[in-house]
């Protein structure tokens, strides 16, 4: 547990008992249990309490793809890590300071991440011989001394919970299920967290089952009281509110922020939205969220498959709505042909890929950044699409608005590459003032655009006559008199859009479609180099922003200089990127893939960028990137 310098320790009356309070600047807690133990809910509630208290925070859920793997097994372990602090933090934390293990499997799966001296809180009720054997413990780790390097608190959470909720008359099984709230209550006590929010939440969540609501509240209070009344815990901890930029904050996950970005796009464009999609982990929450906002003019269409999802979205765009589709990597593979049709017909379309571990079905609930090249090139023919990636959960909002803006302005499918870490992670979000959101209104074609003729029947509409600035073609909706035209996947003749097999026309159209995407205006990258003396640049994209940023801070704290650039726009690259890269003697690109951005950068700018890659299904740790950057910095000085 890291403490602020000269951590203040004071003994104060904490309720009925004297405990010592230690002030900390940040804490990482990991709740781990069986898939059925409610660890995600527990972590989520603790996070809400931290948010309500005003800490900065970042979270990382980690759960298996199986809904309920066999009980008590390693395969069924689900965990939720929350990092909260009194300053602006960038990651959910490399390692927990506190591990809550609800059963032997959770202990075994997570103990290696707990640093020596760390706090371990164990639900002893699950440590029966049979459960120990299930995960290969020959002896009880709580007794055999193997945990001696940790500060271990053994709590019979299930027994205590069952006792605490007895008055509700719930059966033993239902009663025991409340033990996650006991754990939450205990941790809430330890960290001086507010409790009203959780009690209110529980009563709302179980409004239809008042006895369940009551039992959860009782278990939660019992956990709190256990901390307060037993002598086991001598120290409690305080993490002061963070000094963030002024404003109103809320906690938000990436998928919710992305959904809000689509809602905001509907409002700012004044267009109806049709989300055509098929459920897939970890993107389904975007569908769930958007299905609630019909009053914003959002239609959600749960299609028969991935292809129908994007097909309906494209059909809606053809009709003048904003078509959106959401999926993960396997779905992008299925949607590729329709993205190609969108490129050929030059219609707006937002394609959201919440990346997960691949290839094939891969690791549905784990994160990865390995769809970049699929997003860039995974279609037949020369088929360019703009590609963007959010760098954090809250950043999904702005990225969604930007993706929509590009799609509408340039009449093109746009690929937005989120990932599992961003999608399920959460952080505080400075709620934007809607007056500051971009104007996304569009103009549909209403009049013939070629009075001299050349269009249908000598009339004057040329569906592929381009805007000289954006190279976008007119968006002429069915129902507009006089602009009847036909579009499709066959090569178009320049201007008229009629079928054309002319070799020169094809060459021209391929280059025009590429030029349109290459010409998209994207903001220049900004370089973060506080010293201005860095010779090493670390370049990243997407969700690795947090760990890269945290690693840079650490390296700088050690007295070294390192510059950070993070890309939101992967296609086209920002105009100044090549020049920026050329200004450093070493460029490091960390990615959760085997070097996909590095390949693009090397090919495009002839820069000898070095890749640092890891594809473990988990985000980078700040510590490992710190070491990579330190090596690079020292290497430059040595040379």
């Amino acid at each position: 547990m890291s403490t602020t310098e000269g951590a203040a320790k004071t003994a104060v009356a904490n309720g009925t008992r004297q405990t010592e309070i230690t002030k900390l600047d940040r804490v990482v807690i990991r709740f781990a249990g069986d898939s059925g133990d409610g660890m995600q809910l527990t972590g989520d509630r603790f996070t809400s309490e931290a948010a309500a208290f005003g800490n900065d925070l970042a979270t990382q859920p980690n759960f298996p793809a199986e809904i309920r793997a066999p009980q008590g097994t390693m395969a069924g372990v689900s965990s939720f890590q929350v990092h909260f602090a009194d300053y602006d933090i960038l990651t959910p934390g490399d390692r927990p300071d506190v591990l809550v293990a609800m059963n032997p499997a959770a202990l075994k799966a997570n103990i290696k991440d707990l640093p020596a001296g760390g706090t371990l809180i164990v639900n002893t009720d699950e440590f029966a011989k049979r459960n120990l054997a299930k995960v290969g413990y020959d002896a009880d780790p709580l007794e055999d001394g193997s945990l001696d390097s940790y500060q271990v608190f053994k709590v019979a959470m299930a027994t205590l919970t069952i006792g605490a909720v007895e008055s509700t008359g719930l059966g033993k099984k239902d009663a025991e299920r409340c033990k996650n709230m006991f754990a939450l209550g205990l941790l809430s006590w330890m960290y001086h967290r507010p409790t009203e929010g959780t009690e209110r939440f529980l009563r709302e969540k179980f409004a239809r089952k008042p006895e369940i609501a009551e039992a959860n509240v009782l278990a939660f209070r019992a956990g709190w009281n256990y901390g307060e009344t037993t002598e086991a815990f001598a120290v409690t901890y305080e993490v002061a509110p963070a000094k963030l930029a002024p404003g109103t904050y809320r906690q938000i996950t990436g998928n919710t922020a992305l959904a809000y970005g689509i809602v905001a796009s509907a409002v700012q464009s004044k267009l109806p939205v049709l989300l055509g999609t098929y459920p897939i982990t970890p993107a389904s929450d975007i569908l769930h969220e958007l299905s609630k906002y019909k009053h914003f003019g959002i239609t959600t269409f749960q299609a028969e498959d991935e292809i129908a999802g994007i097909g309906a979205a494209l059909g809606a765009s053809y009709g003048g709505a904003l078509g959106v589709t959401s999926t993960s990597g396997p779905g992008i593979a299925l949607k590729a042909e329709t993205i190609g049709l969108g490129v050929m017909t030059e219609l707006p379309l937002v394609v959201i890929d919440v990346q997960r571990g691949g290839p094939s079905t891969g690791l549905p609930t784990k994160t990865e950044q390995a769809d970049l090249l699929q997003a860039m090139y995974g279609r037949n023919g020369e088929c360019p699409v703009p590609v963007l990636a959010p760098q954090s959960p809250a950043d999904c909002f702005r990225t969604a608005l930007e993706a929509t803006k590009i799609a509408l302005t340039y009449r093109t499918p746009v690929l937005l590459l989120s990932d599992g870490a961003v999608a399920n992670g959460s952080e505080p979000w400075l709620v934007p003032d809607i007056a500051d959101l971009p104007d996304l209104t569009v103009e549909f074609a209403t009049e013939p655009n070629a009075p001299e003729g050349g269009g249908e029947g000598g009339g004057g509409f040329l569906p592929y006559l381009r805007d000289p600035e954006t190279l976008a073609r007119p968006w002429a909706l069915p129902g507009t008199p006089g602009l009847q035209h036909r579009i499709g996947g066959l090569e178009k003749a320049d201007r008229t859009g009629n079928i054309s097999y002319d070799p020169d026309n094809h060459d021209r159209m391929v280059r025009l479609r590429q030029a349109k995407v290459d010409g998209i205006q994207v903001p220049d990258v900004t370089v973060d180099d506080p010293s201005g003396k860095a010779q090493v640049l670390v370049l990243g994209w997407g969700s690795s922003y947090g760990p890269i940023g945290a690693a840079c801070r650490r390296v700088r704290k050690l007295g070294h200089s390192v510059a950070q650039v993070h890309l939101r726009h992967l296609n086209p690259f920002p105009a100044n990127l090549g020049e920026v890269l050329a200004g450093y003697s070493k460029v490091i690109i960390p990615e959760m893939n085997l070097g996909q951005l590095a390949m693009l950068i090397r090919a495009r700018y002839l820069v000898d960028a070095q890749s640092y890659t890891k594809v473990a299904g988990l985000p980078f740790k700040a510590e490992e990137l710190q070491n990579v950057l330190l090596d690079a910095v020292k290497g430059v000085h040595a040379a």
């Binding site: 000094k243 904050y249 809320r250 906002y293 059909g315 765009s317 009709g319 009847q484 036909r486 499709g488």
Partner: protein, 359 residues
């Protein structure tokens, strides 16, 4: 999960599509693009029939959209002076679904073929039909792959010798009408390309129907499957094989008997089936009087089973035409009701319930 009654007052198929008083001619529906089907292709006949039929609807031409997939017939939209999209293989029903949901003011037609609709796009077809999206789906069935030059299709008869099946095809074919009825399509019809009158009548009823209408059109491919339907067109053969359906009339076919109607009739058979019988043997009263609005799809399904692979019998006309809520109407109503009952306050949404303020 609780179910919600989504009942809607029944509209006609085109009730929300703007009309015009200006007289229209078939010529108005011809685009300036040269029609490039092979000489003698049945698609020409269907194109002409559709171009002649559409003016009778009196719709604004710009409010009609043809969406197609891939295949010979899918070039259809290019030849129509309406809006149109020639999309990708098999996906036209999905694209048209998105369009129909977004735009109640459009008359949306899907043009597809036996390969496009029943092979690569089979999934989209059945789901469009089950949802009952307000689409008119014209399935041109030539029982062969034409654009790829002559492989067997999912409607080719068993044992078909083609380029890809030199020893004969092994697959059992789909009966597209049975398939559509299995998906609980609310409207299913069948016509022959050569029968302009019969085709136009099925199209007329399909257009008036609110919901998905599947119209299977037997269509000759003169290059790769020439004469596939000749037995249905030859005098002396046709009347023995074709079983035309007319609502409210007994299902009779064959050479006229003493009462002036066909010598054969369709009668009940077994547990829930139908069969062909000589009226003189079973009596007039045993012959089924056709009712396409019969709610139970098993009646229409039994009718569809009278058609055989070898075309010894082929039923034509409208098998089923029942009222059922359409997906697109319901989807729009949910949005409209949500808009009425809730204020779309973006700022409030973004702020949410739990916020904290940093001064």
């Amino acid at each position: 999960m609780t179910a919600v009654d989504l009942g809607l007052p029944q509209l006609g198929g085109l009730d929300l599509v703007p009309t015009t008083d200006e007289p229209q001619k078939a010529k108005d529906y011809k685009s300036d693009q040269e029609v490039r089907w092979c000489p003698g292709c049945g698609d020409y006949v269907v194109l002409n029939a559709v171009q002649s039929f559409l003016p009778t609807l009196g719709l604004k031409r710009e409010n009609i959209v043809f969406v197609s997939g891939i295949g010979c017939s899918s070039r259809f939209p290019y030849y129509m002076n309406t809006y149109g999209m020639h999309s990708i293989h098999g996906r036209a029903p999905a694209i048209a679904t998105g369009l129909a949901v977004s735009r109640p003011d459009l008359s949306v037609w899907v043009v597809t073929g036996d390969g496009d609709a029943l092979s690569i796009g089979g999934n989209h077809l059945i789901h469009a039909l089950r949802r009952n999206v307000n689409l008119k789906i014209l399935l041109f069935n030539n029982r062969i792959y034409g654009l790829t030059k002559g492989q067997y299709s999912p409607t080719s008869e068993e044992g078909k010798i083609t380029k890809s099946t030199p020893l004969g095809s092994l697959d059992h074919p789909f009966n597209p009408v049975s398939l559509a009825l299995g998906a609980e399509a609310s409207f299913v019809g069948r016509a022959l390309d050569s029968d302009r009158k019969g085709l136009t009548e099925v199209l007329r009823q399909a257009a008036a129907h609110r919901g998905s209408a599947l119209v299977e059109i037997y269509q000759n491919c003169p290059i790769f499957n020439d004469g596939a339907f000749d037995v249905l067109k030859e005098a002396g053969q046709a009347e023995e094989r074709l079983i035309p359906l007319v609502d409210g009339e007994p299902i009779r076919f064959g050479s006229p008997g003493p009462d002036g109607l066909g010598e054969y009739g369709v009668v009940r058979s077994g547990f829930a089936g139908l069969e062909v019988a000589k009226v003189s043997e079973v009596g007039e009263d045993a012959v089924i009087v056709h009712d396409s609005s019969h709610h139970d799809p098993s009646y229409a399904f039994a009718l569809s089973r009278l058609s055989t692979q070898d075309l010894s019998h082929v039923v034509t006309g409208v098998f089923r035409n029942v009222e059922r809520s359409t997906y697109d109407d319901l989807a729009r109503r949910q949005v409209a009701q949500a808009k009425e009952s809730k204020t779309a306050d973006l700022q409030a949404l973004l702020r949410g319930k739990d916020t904290w303020t940093v001064a």
